[in-house]
Amino acid sequence: MIYFDNAATSMPKPHAVISAMSEAFKSCGNSGRSGHKYALTAAQTVYECRKKLAMMFNTRPECVIFTASATEALNIAIKGTNRIGGVTLVSSMEHNSVMRPINTLRKNGETVLRQFLVDVNSDDITCDNFSSVSRSATNVVITHASNVCGRILPIKKFRSLLSDDVVFILDASQTAGHIAIDIVELGVDIMCIPAHKGLFGPMGVGALIINPYSDVIIEPLIEGGTGTNSKTFEMPENYPEKLEAGTLNVCGIAGLSAALDDVEFNDKEMDLFKYLVMSLNDMVDIILYGTPVKNNWNDYVPVLLFNKKGFDCETLCELLAEKGFALRAGFHCAPNAHMTLGTYEIGGVRLSLSKKNNRREIDRFLNVLDSIKA
């Protein structure tokens, strides 16, 4: 099967990831819980991964908090920094991992939710829309790139339009591993990432990454044992342990650590993406949503949304699966993004590339897609 569902999770995972996880199952005890060799091997494994992530995103190892997913990291960041009576600002492209926790805060009267409209064709218009509602914002939570159409948002520009005391949380679920990210340069306080998408790590691991120059205070969402200072019922004051109660997924973290050794940023993915989009543009019965319009390829990660005239998106996705292609149809847990793109009623088929894809796979896909007739 040809795999084009990398925005959901990347496949196939590298052998080095599987080997590292297998080795960790044999050699790692519980990190931070004892001084014997198994516990220390686990601790060293976790620390090595913290260092690699810190280097990749330009922060310090202790500013890397491991979680079970990007969703968990976002929940910790959103709820742990919320200011009662404040205003939380989001874009119109957010995933439910952002919208649902904020909606709960809103329903409980703990924040006021405001949204600005993203114009996928113009960062200037998007920034104007942002400015029109950002004045009262106390917290900002924005996706780095849409999980529906791959459009990267102008995060650095947004930051420049905010006062320093506004907490800025970045959902980098679709960009981590696809583009280089410097948390200091972007100026966001917190970014949340999954291990299992662009980074090619395993499922079950995510990270909350704190800007080393930010003074943001994040209260724990989950409290419990940390292996330190056990005689007190208070959580530790220092990161990462303040936000890492309970046993870490050491085997998953070992897998992520191995995956990070293989991350490289080059033009391969985007060259394939360009070829795919331009080829689909030439097919008269294909409708694309939110794709580049003026060679602004650098504003995208390789994710695209389309429909084929005469087909419901789920039906088309099933037909493609029968013919050996793994894609995803529906609403992709981001209803407002579909509202923005004009597909709220019908949804769409999402195709998402990775560094493992190649031109031959895309040619086969284009041929099969073209051959499917209503």
């Binding site: 931070g32 060293q44 190892p61 292996g227 330190t228 200072n229 530790p236 004051e237 220092n238 990462p240």
Partner: protein, 73 residues
């Protein structure tokens, strides 16, 4: 005689160990009785007591939070 500097967590203990190593101080991660007496459960770095002043200032200058220090026989 060994000296132990007690850190707030295993993360800081490993960071401290790496920093000390890069500056010629070889240490071990420990959860010895000496650590327990200061911290309850916790971790420290154990090294030659003659290197205490140098080690302590290295950690302080790098912003690594030190909980305390003690002797380990």
């Amino acid at each position: 005689m060994k000296k132990v500097i007690v850190l707030s967590s295993i993360t800081y203990a490993l960071k401290a160990q790496e920093l000390l190593k890069n500056n010629g101080v070889y240490s071990n991660i420990t959860r010895s009785k000496a650590v327990k007496n200061i911290r309850g459960c916790g971790y420290g770095v154990s090294f030659d007591s003659a290197l205490f002043e140098k080690s302590q200032s290295l950690l302080i200058n790098s912003g690594i939070p030190i909980i305390g220090s003690t002797d380990e026989k």
